[in-house]
């Protein structure tokens, strides 16, 4: 059952992005920036948590979930550490994903070469 929910939630979030791309000519970079910002705002308002309760990984895997993690991280850190948490919370909560992206990104760029499109 959680697979069906994740499929529907993840699919829906991607389908909305596809409509934005096709209808507004937003570039992929702008879509990602929009989604991460929107995710952080929804996370800050406490709305996104409900989507995760319903969709599980379907809500955390899209970049909206990354934005939500940033917001949740900040809120938790502010509660624990006060003002300094404003600056430490976001990246602390997402450190795993970002570090992995930087490291694997660099390593794979060393190993592999781009191929021309067919």
């Amino acid at each position: 059952m959680d697979y069906i929910k994740a499929f529907l939630m993840g699919g829906l979030i991607c389908a909305i992005a596809q409509i934005l791309i096709d209808k507004t000519k937003l570039t992929p970079a702008r879509i990602l920036v929009t989604y991460v910002t929107l995710g952080a705002i929804l996370g800050g308002l406490g709305v996104y948590k409900k989507l995760i309760d319903i969709g599980g990984a379907g809500a955390t895997i899209p970049l909206l979930g990354f934005g939500n993690s940033l917001a949740q991280g900040v809120i938790k850190a502010v509660e624990k550490d006060g003002l300094i948490g404003v600056f430490t919370g976001g990246l602390t909560a997402t450190a795993g994903g970002i570090s992995a992206a930087v490291f694997f990104g660099y390593i794979f760029s060393l190993i592999f070469n781009p191929r021309t499109k067919k």
Partner: protein, 148 residues
């Protein structure tokens, strides 16, 4: 030459007439299916890590790391761009797409060197994502700090 706004508008109407429209329905269906499948792969790993006794938060972090690895690897072996061709947003929006946006310029620009080529260019898209994401989170944190 002065811009002739009326002429430009007239031309825009002509040009739009011949602009092939994106296959919207097909694109949406493909984005839905691929985005859903990638989410299910994430769900599989989430369930796996939870079953190994990790907390929800740790399991989610491990899922992110795993998915980033997969996205980066599929980009390296030259598969991710083939997926992206038919999946569109379905493979852009998941965190695997974030990894793709890092690895693809890094691979491409390493011929311009490992500092200003690969290492600098890998943040072409990831950089803005982190800038806007972190900045938004800090504003949210400030609001939360003063309102609570």
């Amino acid at each position: 030459m002065e811009r002739d706004v009326k002429k430009e508008q007239e031309y825009k109407n002509i040009a739009q007439k011949y602009e092939p429209k994106p296959a919207l329905l097909k694109n949406i269906v493909m984005a839905f299916v691929v985005g859903g499948l990638i989410s299910d792969i994430g769900q599989f790993f989430l369930n796996f890590y939870l079953s190994r006794g990790y907390s929800m938060q740790d399991a989610n972090t491990l899922v992110s790391i795993t998915m980033v690895f997969l996205g980066a690897f599929l980009t390296g072996i030259g598969v991710y761009d083939d997926i992206g061709k038919f999946a569109g947003a379905g493979s852009i929006v998941p965190i695997t797409g974030f990894a793709n946006s890092i690895v693809s310029p890094a691979m491409e620009f390493k011929r311009e060197g490992f500092v200003f080529g690969a290492a600098a260019k890998m943040f072409t898209i990831a950089g803005p994502v982190i800038v806007y994401g972190v900045s938004t989170s800090i504003i949210i944190g400030l609001i939360y700090y003063f309102l609570k």
